[in-house]
Symmetry: C2
Subunit: 341 residues, 2 copies
């Protein structure tokens, strides 16, 4: 649909604009774009590209800037994704070289690397635990009124909460309770724990433990793990360095959006496998209509676990970001393999 020359010009404009954040004029394309036509010719093509919807003019007598559609075409057909520099790659590698023994550490670290290298805001969704299953359940009494319940999943994730022990319940019986729960619930997916507790474990408990009814509620609470993704943010203040966001109100909207975990998760929900790019107005949320959101899911054994993403101005360095996300999502998967075996 576009001629070769139009593609070259569009490419040059996007590249230039990504670099400079200023509307691109025909002259600078002619000179530095590596195309070699006169400004006048470029202008004619630019007028055509604008009519086709790929470019916009902030006002007459300013240069052109890419429209959402222009960026879209650029991302789909023109961008060169091999722009990951040597030092950056080394930086990523060196970060992952340190052996981390907490899953959260890896995730959080990844978020930090992302925002540091790109100067955008990184958003990382930790692995969801919906499909994980119970490995071990444990109760540690703190005093005669409270105990810590610990749930270990098959992926080595540990959840803990404090439950209260009813006054009529004998603390020394807890061990029995734990034994029965482990025997009955080991291997059960987290989201089925509570149902199973009532349907199958209650009866068994009744056979061996006095006053077991009084502690059932506490046990149910103990098994109610939040199966949601955890969200890690890094570099939110990077937004302030972007010239398009020198308007405080706009930044405020974006930062508030970032604070709203549920909204954020919804935006990530649509992220299917692989890398996804949502440019400007393609985003459902008004607050980030002037941003691009690029996400990549990481998976172990073909099973998608979570998502990493970058939020920046539409004028993003797509080539670099895409390759970085690609590399990093694979590295995270590698790092997590330890837990997911």
């Amino acid at each position: 649909m576009l001629t070769e020359r139009q593609r070259m010009i569009l490419n040059a404009i996007v590249d230039d604009y990504i670099r400079s954040a200023e509307p691109v004029g025909s002259r600078s394309i002619s000179k530095h774009g590596g195309i070699g036509f006169s400004p006048a010719t470029i202008r004619n093509e630019m007028a055509d590209l604008e009519e086709l919807g790929f470019l916009e003019q902030p006002h007459t007598s300013a240069g052109r800037i890419p429209s959402t559609q222009g960026y879209r075409y650029y991302v789909d057909h023109l961008v060169k994704v091999s722009q990951l520099g040597e030092e950056e790659l080394a930086r990523v590698r060196s970060h992952f070289a340190m052996r981390m023994n907490q899953m959260e550490q890896i995730i959080q670290h990844a978020a930090m690397i992302l925002s540091n290298i790109t100067n955008y805001t990184s958003i990382v969704l930790g692995p969801e635990m919906f499909s994980n299953s119970l490995k071990v359940f444990q109760l540690v009494p703190l005093n005669d009124r409270a105990a810590v319940a610990i749930v270990v999943t098959n992926t080595g994730h540990v959840e803990n909460r404090t439950i209260s022990i009813p006054p009529d319940f004998d603390v020394t019986e807890l061990e029995k309770v734990v034994g029965i729960l482990n025997a009955k619930l080991a291997g059960v997916p987290l989201h089925r724990l509570q149902a199973k507790l009532y349907s199958e474990v209650g009866e068994e408990l009744g056979r061996h433990v006095e006053h077991y009814e009084s502690i059932m509620d506490s046990l149910a609470k103990a098994l109610e793990t939040d199966q949601e993704h955890r969200v890690f943010l890094s570099g939110a203040s990077n937004m302030l360095t972007q010239p398009e966001f020198k308007d405080v109100d706009k930044v405020k909207m974006i930062l508030d959006w970032l604070d709203e975990t549920p909204t954020l998760m919804k935006a990530f929900a649509s992220a299917s496998a692989g890398i996804q790019v949502r440019i400007g107005t393609e985003n459902d949320d008004d607050a980030i209509r002037s941003c691009s959101l690029i996400t990549a899911s990481y998976s172990v054994d073909g099973k998608s676990l979570g998502t990493i993403g970058l939020l920046g101005p539409t004028r993003m360095d797509y080539g670099k970001v895409i390759s970085l996300l690609d590399v990093l999502s694979k590295d995270i998967a590698l790092g997590l393999a330890r837990w997911y075996k």
Copy 2:
């Protein structure tokens, strides 16, 4: 040192400026300050107050604004701290009414309440665990190369990390290891765990477990809990709503400062018992020289556990903030008493 009238005028100026964020003129004090002298008289006093260092003039022919010293005097002698409204108090109470079974939930919640009510940025340091002691140690094998180590403290705090198991170590021996560790280390303060592991436990392990040397390093790692405070932030974007921070660069500095956990901890380190107010240039850190940082420590049984704080412009609503921090720090202590018995 100050006459009664000067105090009243200073008080009126600070109150007015806190409300309006604009330099206060003699006329508005005379009219709305509730003092009842003519502007000219007020002007004379203002000139004196300026000479004494309590007021500043952004430029000739603008009104006065309080200097750091002015705020200091206001906070020390003039502020009325009983300004916590009914609905706000109700809001705090209702938040704490919900029973929370994770310590972190309470802390994080508190941070959210603080920033929501005040529209400033809240910073909450979770309880440090330096002086906590080991209650129970647990190892859960994930596969034959890795296991999850779980440390439960006497306060019900749970730490976990994944350790690797050396190839020559028999997984079935782990139970024995756990037994010995619990027998030897229960009640030992967290910061002494590693030392004790080598000095006392190693030998005992050697008597009962083959190849115990190979797993010592992993065990040491498992016991190396980070005893630092955890930092919870909330409402960082509130900074953007303050008129004095409409300059993007200034905000950037502050947000970056907030991101730097170590620096932040240092600023909190000096926070002794009770409520502490650091106004503008009283802060050590350049980045927040235009801010005030108000901190309050929360303690159980007279033992200080952690700190909550608010960061805002020097033009802060000190009365409200101080009373709110006072209430909240006590509520947090109450909420945590469950764990600290």
